[in-house]
Amino acid sequence: MNLETFFSAFQGIQAMMASPPQMVLARIGLILLGFLLIYLGKKGVLDPLLMIPMGLGMSVINASVMIFDPLNLHGGLGTLFVEAQAGASGDRIKDAADLMYILGIDWLQPIYTFTFSNGLIACLVFLGIGALLDVGFLMARPFMSITIALFAEIGTLITFPIATLFGYNIKQAAAISTIGGADGPMVLFTSLKLAPELFVPIAIIAYLYLGFAYGGYPYLIRFMIPSKKIRGTPMKPDTSTNKISSGQKMTFAVVACVILCILLPVASPLLFSLFLGIVIRESGIKPFQDLLTGPILYTATLFLGLMLGVLCEANTILDPKVLPLLILGVLSLLLSGIGGIIGGYLFWFFSGKKINPVIGIAGVSCIPTTAKVAQKVVQKDNPQAIVMQFALGANVMGVITSAIIAGVFCSIIK
């Protein structure tokens, strides 16, 4: 028995030996990164719901590469998990045949083909988020919430032209810039529509950075609002939210959904999912509410994390187009945070210093993370100050504004 026969019993090691050295290093690096994500998820630094399945998926996909490439796409190496490039050649007959063939081989291929490549997973997450959203916070102060949310989209709008300087085409640049909206499902949806070839790295970077937003934004707030007194500005307790009935909220959701779908039909699956969740919440149909906020939201989140992890194969990540994404993602989120705080400052100034500028960060639509960040920072400087209700209004509007921008991008960029 020679050494080759011995290693053929351990296909993972054999595949490592058959790979170029930089690929081996990348795989080992990604396995370790997966461990780190699991650790940070367990510690609560990053969102455990996403990071634990994502981390394990990332480690395992890079460990289980073997000499197997049924569609001849990766020079003889592959896995039994998923083939994201199957059905992407442009030849419809070949694509259909490839997809049917690979659906019978890769165990996660049905999830990818039937829920990711058509945006269903983003819609399912949005259904769950909608069922958790209380639009009363937005309806109590629509103009303030909307203005702050618009300021917090600055990152998206500025990063878009900057991304073209890094060599990305218009569609890719638009998809990348949506990271600034800080809305995971929206980033998934837009990148699938505009730049499916970059969907994997964009989605991974977006979710990684969104995880870090919880830890990073408090530093940005303290940097931009250095005065403890201003950060701790108390706001008058709000009673207007309680005066909004579930019927009013439902009417708003129905009307806004129809208007936005007329204006932006490209984004209608996402808009419909969000508003359907809101309507179900406000209609009081408890079984549906439980279904959306429990099984559907958690199943979608589990498969989202798992799929993002298994799509992190070294081949995908070593693409030279991925590296600038790391910079553009940070830039986009940073500018959005800065924009949101500037919006908060404007209201602080024009209200005669009665509105806490920290709520501006909640315009970044990472719901409810940024609203919680605002409350946490404010409460640290003034334990008596409660800004959560105001922050949530901007937060909810941030989700709607991000959906509008995604819709506009998908409509005007051909």
């Binding site: 069922a131 958790l132 209380d134 009363g136 916070f137 937005l138 309806m139 629509p142 103009f143 919430s145 909307i146 949310a149 618009l150 989209e153 709008l157 500025i158 878009f160 032209p161 073209t164 300087l165 218009i170 640049a173 638009a174 307790p237 709000d238 009673t239 939210t241 309680n242 005066k243 909004i244 009935s245 579930s246 019927g247 009013q248 009417t251 708003f252 009307v255 806004a256 208007i259 936005l260 204006l263 932006l264 509410q289 906020t293 409810p368 609203a371 919680k372 409350q375 409660i386 959560m388 209700q389 949530l392 509007m397 504004t401 509008i404 921008i405 506009v408 991008f409 005007i412 960029i413």
Partner: protein
């Protein structure tokens, strides 16, 4: 770059218009519907707590209410 700047500008304008249109609809709806809504239909935001995030938010809001 120029194309991206102009597209970004167009997106900004359209987004501002749509957003403020939605805000106007919300305001109008809130004012009009409030006249036809009976007090009994009014629900509180803490009425349907769903998740740990919501529980946390509800707790903060409950503190705010207790201060009123």
């Amino acid at each position: 770059m120029n194309e991206a700047i102009s597209l970004s500008f167009v997106t900004t304008i359209i987004t501002i218009i749509i957003s403020f249109f939605i805000a106007f609809i919300v305001k109008l709806m809130t004012v009009v519907l409030h006249k036809f809504t009976k007090e009994s239909n009014i629900t509180t935001t803490t009425g349907s707590v769903q998740s740990s995030d919501e529980s946390e938010i509800a707790a903060v809001i409950a503190i705010a209410k207790s201060k009123q």
